[in-house]
Amino acid sequence: MTMCPVCGRAVDEAAAKVQTGQTAHGAKEVDPKQGTRQFHDGKWYYFDSLGCRSKFTARPDEFLKKPAQ
């Protein structure tokens, strides 16, 4: 488990990555309800929602400096 850097909600990064399906031509598919992620400065960050991730995309330094409570 990790924490959404924007709102502080718990995000299960393993669940966000676990394979729940397969595309027509063989790529792993994941469950969209399990949050999303972003590759930032060589590291993946996990978010509970696209909404939180958009805030992070706009101002990553703000959320990395001061973790949400």
């Binding site: 399906g21 397969q22 027509a24 598919e29 969209p32 590759f39 060589g42």
Partner: protein, 422 residues
């Protein structure tokens, strides 16, 4: 200058129409509708395998279309095409697109391969894109790179004879049904941003690719055939240490910006892109002719007739712009802003006509697919949603206007203009 079709072209259109009449069987129609439903099935489709492969009726239909020489008409014969002319392609595409059958290569990525691919890439990809065995998902947009695409951060790092890719894409239409991804990634971080980008094409089953469904306004309820441009479902795509051979590179390392933008521009040339807008005019004209609404024929109403005529005139502009683009490309002319102009007019015409239809039909125009009282499977309501979609995807109308200003009118680029004002 002759705006008419030649007798041979008129004969071709007749031949295509007769072919469609004979071959558009209920089995084919069911598969076309089924395919569209599967492609747009969104979250519910996650987890099922083997979607969007052609059924037996469609496979046979495409075999017959191919036997007539109507697939890949303008592509060279050595790459599986017919070495034919654009206007023939236009006629064939237009008539098949009207019945929901895709025969053109609009949005396929094929023009970029023809322009920038190695001999091996041309021989591998073009015949299979023409036959439909291969299809690409276009991996351009990222959370921090859309209209400002050159900001993309997805990284590809050279490691011996391979590249290692890490990063992500968003709004990747059809990643769930495509055989390959056509990916723009950063291969150099030390140079100006446009000069450090490369394009890679590799199979979707390459280890390390993850697809996360991202459904759009056209997904639920499901959009009927012909109301969306492309698949209704998009995706996020993640790349975790994805290793691809250097032969996956299209057009050389760090040459991706030019290859990609030229390819995107050429990929807009074709009848199917404009037809989605014009079909809405045809749909409402046919509906008004054939139906009475709450006891009246709406086609008798002067206000409605006036609006329909106005919109039909606009629709003809879409058509003429498309034909102009095709004719420029046919003559090998310099094709720079014309496709962009078309990509502003047709989507915005689509928005105007669907809005007008909503007014004419009142609440009936807003009943969606699956509603028990819906008319024409909800096409009018779904068209409203679809019209917004095509103003954003494959280059938004604002970006297209910027290209018209720069390439067509010779105005300074936005960045330079902003710099000058400071």
């Amino acid at each position: 200058m002759n705006f008419g079709f030649s007798p041979e072209q008129e004969a071709l259109r007749k031949e295509v129409l007769a072919f469609i009449k004979e071959n558009l069987t209920p089995g084919v129609i069911a598969e076309v509708e089924g395919e569209e439903q599967e492609v747009s099935a969104g979250e519910e489709s996650a987890g099922r395998k083997g979607l969007a492969r052609r059924g037996p009726h469609l496979s046979e239909l495409y075999r017959r279309i191919g036997a007539r020489g109507w697939l890949g008409i303008t592509y060279p014969k050595e790459y599986g095409g017919q070495g034919g002319d654009r206007i023939s392609q236009y006629i064939v595409e237009e008539e098949f697109a009207r019945v929901g059958i895709r025969v053109g290569l609009v949005g396929s990525g094929a023009p970029a391969i023809l322009a920038a691919g190695t001999e091996e890439q041309k021989r591998d990809f073009i015949p299979r894109l023409i036959s439909g065995e291969y299809s690409f998902a276009l991996g351009f947009t990222e959370p921090h790179a859309g209209a400002d695409l050159a900001n993309l951060r997805c990284r590809a790092v050279r490691d011996g004879d391979e590249y290692v890719i890490n990063g992500q894409k968003i709004y990747t239409t059809a990643a769930h049904v495509a055989t390959h991804i056509y990916l723009m990634a950063r291969t150099n971080t030390e140079v100006p941003k446009h000069d450090g980008i490369s394009i890679f094409i590799f199979p979707m089953d390459t280890a390390g690719i993850t697809v996360r469904p991202l459904v759009t306004i056209q997904n639920n309820p499901k959009a009927p055939v012909g109301t969306t441009y492309g698949a209704a479902r998009t995706n996020e795509v993640f790349f975790d240490n994805v290793r691809v051979p250097k032969s996956a590179l299209l057009g050389g390392e760090n040459k991706g910006w030019r290859v990609g933008s030229t390819g995107l521009n050429l990929d807009r040339v074709g009848a199917s892109r404009y037809l989605i807008s014009v079909r809405r005019d045809e749909d409402i004209v046919n509906w008004l002719k054939e139906n009475r609404h709450e006891g009246n024929s709406l086609g008798d109403d002067p206000a409605i007739r006036d609006k329909i005529a106005e919109m039909w005139i606009e629709a003809q502009v879409c058509r003429l712009m498309t034909m102009r683009s095709m004719s420029i490309v046919e003559r090998g002319g310099n094709f720079t802003y014309e496709g962009s102009a078309e990509k502003v007019w047709a989507p915005e015409h689509g928005t105007r006509i669907t809005e007008a239809i909503t007014q004419m039909l009142g609440p009936y125009g807003q009943l969606m697919n699956g509603s028990p009282r819906t008319i024409e499977k909800g096409i009018f309501g779904h068209n409203v949603l679809g019209s917004f979609q095509s103003g954003i995807n494959h280059g938004s109308v604002q970006i297209m206007r910027d290209q018209v200003a720069r390439r067509g009118l010779g105005l300074p680029s936005q960045r330079k203009a902003q710099g000058a004002r400071k």
